[in-house]
Symmetry: C2
Subunit: 195 residues, 2 copies
Amino acid sequence: MTTDSTLTPEQILTAAEDVLRRYGPAKATVVDIARALGVSHGSVYRHFPSKAALREAVTQRWLDQAHAELSTISAGSGPADERLHRWLATLFAAKKRKALEDPELFATYQALVGELSSTVEEHIETLIAQIAVIVRDGVDRGEFRPADAEFTARAVFQATAHFHDPVHAAEWKHDRADADFEAVWSLLLNGLRAG
Amino acid sequence: MTTDSTLTPEQILTAAEDVLRRYGPAKATVVDIARALGVSHGSVYRHFPSKAALREAVTQRWLDQAHAELSTISAGSGPADERLHRWLATLFAAKKRKALEDPELFATYQALVGELSSTVEEHIETLIAQIAVIVRDGVDRGEFRPADAEFTARAVFQATAHFHDPVHAAEWKHDRADADFEAVWSLLLNGLRAG
């Protein structure tokens, strides 16, 4: 049992995720979360001023889960083509894992995400900016053809939607999903590479 | 009023679409369709042996609507890059028109399509085969780099999912959708072109 004085935001978010998984986003309440933690609901409100703020924080954490790794790849060194491939493959693997290993929680988050379009838009802008860092490096080093990095990064992100946009999750369990990813990647890489 | 003896499959499919639009796929019945045409439901069954066969035919017609034009572009002559661009832009325009001008009917067909995965798979294979014809022409003429046409066509189709897959329909009304399409197209064209 957690005591009110030692309660951390992280513990609340973890408990919130459990409660969401169990009850779904429509039915989950702050009281359920407080009960799961053995604290008063006032203690939860001390960290998150409203149910809306808590929902947003828990969604943000979910969206950010693969970010640390992606951000490291984006900021790394080494050939741009290898980094971009690793970045895209890591994103695809993370999304696939979430969708296939815990489909119920994935569906729950899809519902939350549908209500928080500005949170999702920010998330997408962050991801595109990470791709742009790699594209800019590639162009600067002469590995990639000259291009507007932001513009190209957005095109790369959209052209790989099949392999990260949750609307395609039903297709990720197909045997050929990884081969399809590599085929799209090859085509994009040819498009990026300096002639 | 239509008489039983002059009733054509095309009239039945058009009436079926009206009925689907009005009642939705769950509630629409063959009796409703016969009533709309002023014929007995036996007359409808003379052309379509079951409700399932009728649903499949009406869905097939919906999927095929843009096919004639796409097929003409695919089989045409002229530079492969222009044809491929026209083919993809025509597909996107047709999908956008359906989704934005008659969202109710679009949703109805999405529900039908969800139940008929083999019909959809065939539809997709037909589209990919049309792209492959253009890619093969481009490779044969030295406009495109050497590549397996079927494999490349599938990659092109998947990389442009944003601009034809109905799961992305909500994004098609954005102001930047057409610019996004052109950005992805440029990247793909660079990937296809002979160096």
